[in-house]
């Protein structure tokens, strides 16, 4: 790689596009040169799992380590190698034509005649190639979105005291979206969020795990009472959702609170990924994380304090909890979390965020949330 690695995304869209083009050309030139000098070309990928990340509170996210794996061109890897280069060419074409495709569209482009024998058998195959390219370019600060491949899945939704300033995709005209006026629905976070700007008077952002809990608070216009922005994550937040919250929180200096079910999936998958990123996408954690997030609830202590109805933890819950304590550098570096998870393992119980309905539909926003929000310092880190 001839260009010096740089951290962080470049500022303007034109610069970002230039960086992508240069990265693609550099790698192609390197491969071409290897072939010309009679050597087998090799691709190097950073290893993406929890074993190759470290966590530092100051950095704020799970940072990828130096371990790499190499793929040398042999007859066995020839197909993947060809697909990688052809996908890089697709990205180059996208950037030059200012186009974007979803990962599924990219899979279908890879079904075209031009791809011939190198066509994909299924989408996981093409997704893996896209992930590989992103990982190779990660140290240059290139993300999948900048390569012009976007996710197919739902990006999450927003309601509350926020005006999102978007642009018309053809005319470039500014569009003002008032998230207090979405009726009984909500604003869908777009797959690509880098160009969005915000206006808000809200005091905090509340990221909610389930659609049910989000709907309850949205229907009751809780965002008006608490002067906040509600985010519906629908399970583990998508990259677009994480990036949206991050940009909004950074831009408007807002605290971010997470509200999930009280189970290891809620802590170790949803909240951990929201705040510090994940193991298998470790190469892009620096962009897709919300380090200022704090955990409001539902905590194991809340189960006791509010005498919530519970279910027994399943084997998979217990395994996930033990795994978080043992292998996840985020949890092991926060004593509060270690204590909370141990407490839950002791109780052997889990509870859902909608369990407050035991008392009344209003309990969650009239009693639980106000009580918690009276002392955000007590939130789990």
């Amino acid at each position: 790689v001839s260009q010096k690695p740089r951290k962080g995304p470049p500022a303007t869209q034109a610069e970002k596009d230039q960086l992508v083009l240069v990265s693609i050309e550099d790698l192609a030139r390197e491969i071409h040169a290897a072939i010309r000098s009679g050597r087998k070309p090799t691709l190097a990928f950073p290893i993406r799992n929890l074993g190759n990340v470290s966590y530092d509170r100051k950095t704020g996210y799970l940072e990828i380590g130096d371990a790499t794996s190499e793929r040398t061109l042999t007859y066995n890897t020839a197909k993947t190698f060809a697909q990688t280069l052809m996908m890089m060419q697709m990205s180059q074409t996208h950037v030059r034509g200012n186009k974007r495709s979803t990962k599924r569209e990219a899979y279908y482009i890879g079904k075209s005649d031009a791809w011939g024998e190198a066509q994909f058998n299924d989408q996981p195959e093409s997704d893996a190639i896209i992930d590989d390219i992103e990982a190779m370019f990660a140290e240059r600060g290139v993300t999948r979105e900048q390569l012009r491949f976007i996710a197919d899945d739902h990006g999450g939704s927003v309601a509350g005291e926020l005006i999102v300033i978007d642009r018309h995709s053809k005319t470039g005209e500014e569009l003002f979206i008032d998230c207090t006026r979405m009726g009984s629905g909500a604003f869908s976070i777009p797959k690509f969020v880098e160009h969005l700007r915000f206006e808000t008077s809200a005091k905090f952002i509340l990221c909610i795990e389930t659609g049910g809990a989000f709907d309850r608070l949205n229907t009751e216009e809780y965002w008006k009472k608490a002067n906040c922005i509600l985010i519906e994550m629908q399970g583990v937040p998508s990259r677009a959702c994480r990036r949206f919250v991050r940009r909004l929180a950074d831009d408007k200096k807002l605290p971010v609170y997470a509200f999930t079910d009280c189970d290891p999936y809620g802590f170790a998958n949803i909240y951990r990924t929201l705040k510090v990123g994940s193991g298998n996408a470790a190469h892009i954690n620096q962009f897709y994380c919300v380090p200022q997030a704090r955990f409001l609830g539902v905590t194991p202590q809340d189960i006791k304090d509010h005498k919530l109805p519970t279910q027994a933890m399943k084997e998979v819950d217990i395994k996930r909890a033990q795994d978080a304590l043992k292998n996840d550098p985020f949890f092991s570096s926060h004593k509060e979390w270690v204590d909370a998870i141990k407490l839950q393992l002791e109780m052997g119980k889990r509870a859902e965020q909608q369990a407050f309905a035991k008392y009344s539909l209003e309990y969650v926003f009239e009693t639980y949330l106000p009580q918690k929000l009276a002392n955000p310092k007590a939130f789990l880190p």
Binding site: A28, H32, I35, R36, G38, L73, K79, A82, G116
Partner: protein, 356 residues
Amino acid sequence: MGMDEWERPQGTRVEIELEAKYQKGQRSVDTYLRATALANPHVTIRYRDPEGTWQVWERATRTLPAEPREVQPHPYGVELGVLLQMMKVTENRKLGAFLQNEFSRVSRKSAFEICQLAGVNPETWVARVAREEAQKLHAALSQVKLMNPPTDCISPIGEGLLVDSLQREYPKAFLVARTRAPSVYRGNPFQVEVALAHDPSAMPSDQTITLLRFANRVPLLYQQGACAVTKAVTSVRWKPYGVEHPRGGLPVGPMVLAVHLASVWVPFTSESKEAVASYPEIVEEIRRAVMECGRSLGIHLSKTRRQNEELKKRDYIAKYIPKISQALQGILELDDRERDRTTAQLTDILNRSRKL
């Protein structure tokens, strides 16, 4: 032949009426006949099944098997009852002469030795030997040191015919057969033959192999698990030959293994003659014959695998290398000449590394 007219100028006709349940499968008349045809390539079998369909196994050879040569019993393998019977019918009068003349490999000296061990005078009249003395004599028979019996009395099927036989059933299979040199257990000469047919296009690859057992050319259909043949085949390590082999079971694969034990005295585990008893000498001979066939199969399989691998490599290179150059051309805006040169060079790099 049923009730058809007998139009042969000579021969033997046997008619037996049996009442039984007619069934198909592993242990059936059909299987028995198929196996019989395999072990008797000199025989043509015509069979009309209950549905009226004729099945014919034409002979694979017109040469009859060599007729077994009659030999005298060897003292090591004689049972007490047989000894008593022999003493009853012998024309020899004195014990020493009886031993020397009626047994294989018993010299004058060894006859004396046997009598000495049994505490009997060799000059005793055979007719006067008491029952207890006969028992002592029987015990002494296996204690003297004697030469092994002659082994030219056994008539094996032969490697060539075994292969021909299997080829009738599996025309596209890899075939190999081994006839071991004759050997001896407890004074009984025996000879082991193994034939193997491997054909992934004709047999299932995910099931246990078909094991065919024969004793003196007769198929054994029952008691497979209790048989020395099964024990020997199971004890062979098949994995080095490239054959899947679950622990403690028969190997798995598209394979028929036929094992023939020819002997003057086949040691069955019971009167029903369903399974061969596991004498160490017999198990070892079967093992060796099976291993020799297995080695040939292993060489064949690895050759096939290498050829397939080579074809696959060539195919991959032809398919994907041009795509790599094509993508490089697209990204780096190379001209067509440079693209083709890259393809040629890359093909060369991969071909070169294959040979190293």
